[in-house]
């Protein structure tokens, strides 16, 4: 009986499972950009199984203090700067799907893409590229006095210097 109930709930769970994978649009991606780049081992190994375009700030590719956490559908690269932490992540997964009757919610959600915000002392930007989502953020040890975190110019420069370093189709 208990088994039957468990099976019932598992089935129910699948019916309401809302998550899934976003489709990557590879058509507009210039892969030549990545072919010419020789990457440090940590990045090369870390991104080899990632199935979305991997972007990385141009200025920090050869930085020593880089670490990466990744799986097939996600990556997060951290660069330890002097008294600050820079992070970029890309993600193919989604958790909710909403079909909205009015365009209001879509417009609201679209409005935050590429918008730089400073929240909780951390400067960040979320953006949508090639069908998937990316986040770039900078956390300073002294968020109120460090000029890299008191306004968004520093992070904007990094954002404008993002380059494609890999990703498996």
């Amino acid at each position: 009986m208990r088994l039957k109930i468990t099976i019932f709930f598992i089935c129910l769970n699948f019916l309401y499972a809302n998550g899934g994978l976003l489709k990557v649009d590879w058509s507009k991606i210039d892969t030549n950009q990545q072919k010419t780049r020789v990457l440090p081992k940590v990045l090369k190994n870390g991104i080899k199984n990632v199935t979305l375009p991997v972007y990385m700030p141009r200025y920090y590719i050869y930085e020593r203090n880089i670490s990466i956490v990744s799986d097939a559908n996600f990556y997060a690269i951290t660069v330890e700067l002097d008294r600050a932490t820079l992070m970029i992540s890309g993600d193919r997964t989604y958790q909710e799907k909403v079909i909205s009757k009015s365009t209001k919610l879509k417009t609201k959600i679209e409005s935050i893409t590429d918008k730089f915000i400073k929240a909780e002392g951390i400067i960040s930007v979320d953006f949508h590229r090639n069908g998937v989502n990316y986040s770039l953020s900078l956390e300073c040890d002294a968020p109120d006095i460090d000029p890299r975190c008191t306004d968004d110019r520093f992070l904007k420069k990094i954002y404008n210097g993002l380059v494609l370093i890999g990703g498996k189709r």
């Binding site: 996600f74 997964t93 989604y94 799907k97 909403v98």
Partner: protein, 236 residues
């Protein structure tokens, strides 16, 4: 027919008598509805949105009691009533949602388009480095900043924990963690900025609206109420 009715009555009585009695903590727990911000001038929340966006997460503080209320508009806060931040009023039920509380930054899911992207949680008392903060689901630690810890759960959600004491962190970048595993101790670490002893907890997930996907900070209060009830029941 009579037999069937008798069986139904018996089953009903049995179900009623077997209901577990509420513990003292469960009885004491009170919370105001999601989106009702206190005080009322602290912002406009998502009133009526009772959807649990992150179902079945574990409560991020290891042990009850813990208190969700405003750090900014609470007693001793920047815009709060006069008094010390350790005032008794800050450490009692009912909980108050503070997602969407007045903040200057963009938040598409807040009625005003701006607001607090997470909730603030206090421990049982005002003591520093006493209460353990834990993983809300199985996952991996993707990043640790000066005052932040990022956990990517198996669900794909990103849970962000702010203000833990960095010297007491028990996890490292890239480390896999289990639901309920200790991450560190609640504190007031905010770099060079002043804050109260609390945990700021927020959750980001990707929502697809009519085919357009974007990562957003989701309303998390209802999920935390749900998680806390399980914690009080002893089934976190």
């Amino acid at each position: 027919m009579k037999l069937t009715i008798s069986i139904i009555i018996l089953l009903f009585i049995s179900a009623c008598t077997h209901q577990k009695k509420l513990t003292k903590e469960e009885k004491a727990f009170k919370y105001t509805p999601a989106g009702v911000l206190v005080p009322s001038n602290s912002g406009k929340g998502r009133v009526g949105d009772n959807y649990i966006y992150a179902p079945n997460i574990r409560f991020p503080i290891e042990k009850a009691p813990a208190y969700i209320n405003s750090q900014v508009y609470g007693v001793g806060g920047l815009h709060g009533k006069r008094g010390g931040v350790c005032s008794k009023e800050n450490y009692q039920y009912p909980w108050h949602d503070n997602y969407c509380e007045n903040r200057p930054w963009s938040m598409p899911l807040c009625p005003s388009g701006k607001g607090h992207q997470g909730v603030d949680i206090r421990g049982a008392t005002c003591e520093d480095k006493k209460y353990f903060v834990v993983a809300v689901e199985d996952g991996v630690i993707t990043n640790i900043g000066k005052y932040s810890v990022y956990l990517r759960g198996k669900s794909g959600r990103t849970y962000r924990y702010l203000h833990m004491d960095s010297k007491t962190l028990r996890v490292k970048k890239g480390q896999k963690v289990k639901r309920g595993q200790r991450l560190g101790l609640m504190s007031n670490n905010f770099g060079n900025t002043k804050t109260t002893i609390h945990l700021h907890f927020d959750v980001k997930e990707t929502i697809v609206v009519d085919g357009y996907a974007q990562k957003v900070y989701i309303p998390i209060y209802t999920s935390l109420v749900d998680a806390y009830k399980r914690l009080l029941k002893g089934k976190p």
